[in-house]
């Protein structure tokens, strides 16, 4: 089981791979859409990669609720 710090850095790696954003930019308070400029198509890719990396399921209705990086970290921590 990954702790929150590991989840954050793992997510940052995925975001870097999919959207080319520097990992230090990916912090818990950032909004995927408004701050990191990630579109809905890239969010689907990020979710699929996060599912594989952390062994979680992120259904579409949950994905829509993950507005910030922190939301995603919390969701993964709770559901892994």
């Amino acid at each position: 089981m990954a702790d929150n710090t590991e989840i954050l850095s793992g997510l940052a790696e995925i975001v870097e791979e999919v959207a080319g954003i520097d990992p230090p930019e990916v912090t818990v308070e950032k909004s995927f859409v408004d701050d990191l400029d990630i579109d809905s198509l890239s969010m689907v890719e990020i979710a699929v990669q996060a599912e594989d990396k952390f062994g979680v399921k992120i259904p579409d209705d949950q994905l829509a609720e993950l507005k910030t990086v922190g939301d995603a970290v919390d969701y993964i921590a709770k559901n892994q």
């Binding site: 999919v18 959207a19 080319g20 809905s40 198509l41 890239s42 689907v44 890719e45 699929v48 599912e51």
Partner: protein
């Protein structure tokens, strides 16, 4: 000249089997280099399916070498090459930063087509679906395989809000795009258009399909001599990939912003054979009509046209028929060349890249040689440049392109 709105070329961009830009492509053409090579080392499907064709003309510069990784992963290869060519053309035209350009976005259009579309994406994603199921299929699959994708990405890049269009007419696509761009400019709907074609379809299924249609050269043991338009020993075309884009604008608009003009797009025409889905009409009547109409559209007489940059793909049926069409349309005097001898056949990009070559021939006063023309087919009675490039003072030249489906396109360029 006719009374139509005058249209000029102010920028050109290309990435081809001979070079990653227009200058390197042109230099290689004049040097007589070939872009054709064996491909089985890069494409395992050649051996996997024991395909009888093991040659193609891949890009000289891989898009990933010049495009940021994250951008590249969102774009199909056909979209990547369109973007690379469009950026070069835009930069040469000196239109400024996208978003703060010298043209009103609502007066900027895009007409960029592809013959096949994102076939490598389609194959890759279908493999993923079959092997791993839905989850691994990219959400970008549809925008990557759609044939309007190259035009759409270029439109987004440069903020072209007047309209983004994607003509599709197989191997005539690139030239057809110039035709519709011309129409938009003359109709006064736009001031500037990015126009051309893009193709990246070197894949097992396309090669297999062309093989089954008996259209590809099988000269695997001598790749650089495989594409030999007008030569008596030609045995088919060589599949290539690439893109060509021109910046076209109203002459008055270009003059007002002080742009450097490379040449004029003086006339364009499209016709159709309505005859056979792949074979050209044997008398070349539809091709001749396209060539003649394009010259008339330019306000010129056949005698004014000194040179035709031919479609000539190196197929047995096509090449000779085309020379008959040129004779019928223009007479015996035009000097011909066939750049596919060096570039291979870039399908939907061919007409755009070859239009750039035609423009440069006029501008520089030199016609690249047709490679591998050792023994002229006796059916060809016109003068074909072979061996060495030929210096020639050209006031006007035609580039023609024909596509599966019976599409005939011809564009006429003139000197500034």
């Amino acid at each position: 000249m006719n009374s139509q709105v005058e249209v000029v070329v102010t920028g050109t961009g290309a990435t081809t089997p001979l070079g990653g830009d227009v200058a390197s492509t042109w230099e290689a053409l004049l040097a007589g280099r070939s872009g054709v090579r064996r491909i089985e080392a890069d494409h395992p499907w050649v051996d996997e399916f024991d395909l009888p064709v093991k040659i193609a003309a891949p890009l000289a510069v891989d898009p990933l070498e010049v495009m940021p990784r994250v951008e590249a992963r969102r774009l199909d290869r056909a979209e990547q090459v369109a973007m690379i060519a469009a950026r070069e053309a835009w930069a040469q035209a000196g239109l400024g930063e996208p978003g703060d350009a010298q043209v009103d976005p609502e007066r900027l259009g895009v007409v960029i087509g592809t013959g096949i579309g994102g076939v490598t994406t389609l194959l890759t994603q279908d493999d993923l679906l079959e092997r791993t199921g839905l989850r691994k299929v990219s959400p970008l699959t549809v925008p990557m395989l759609m044939p309007n994708g190259p035009a759409a990405w270029v439109g987004i890049e440069f903020g072209a809000r007047a309209g983004v269009h994607s003509p599709v007419s197989a191997c005539a696509t690139g030239a057809e795009a110039l035709h519709w761009a011309m129409k938009l400019l003359r109709a006064g709907e736009v001031d500037v258009v990015l126009a051309g074609g893009a193709e990246a379809c070197i894949a097992g299924i396309t090669v297999a399909g062309f093989v089954q249609a008996r259209t590809l050269s099988r000269r695997n043991d001598d790749p650089e001599r495989a594409s030999r338009p007008f030569d008596v020993d030609r045995d088919g075309f060589v599949l290539a990939e690439g893109a060509g884009v021109m910046v076209l604008e109203r002459a008055d608009f270009a003059a007002a912003r002080g742009a450097t003009v490379l040449g004029r797009l003086a006339g364009t025409a499209l016709t159709a054979d309505a005859y056979h889905i792949t074979g050209p009409e044997p008398e070349g009547e539809g091709q001749a009509r396209a060539i003649a109409k394009s010259v008339r559209d330019a306000g010129l007489e056949p005698a004014d046209v000194g040179h035709v940059n031919c479609h000539a793909t190196s197929t047995v049926a096509g090449d000779v028929g085309e020379t008959r069409a040129v004779r019928k349309a223009l007479g015996d005097h035009p000097v011909l060349t066939a750049p596919k001898s060096a570039l291979g056949h870039m399908v939907g990009a061919a007409g755009a890249v070859e239009s750039i070559v035609t423009l440069l021939s006029i501008k520089e006063g030199i016609i690249p040689a047709t490679l591998n023309l050792e023994k002229l087919d006796p059916g060809v009675t016109l003068d074909v440049v072979a061996g060495e490039p030929r210096k020639m003072d050209l006031a006007a030249a035609v580039c023609d392109s024909f596509g599966f489906g019976g599409h005939n396109a011809a564009v006429t360029f003139t000197r500034v």
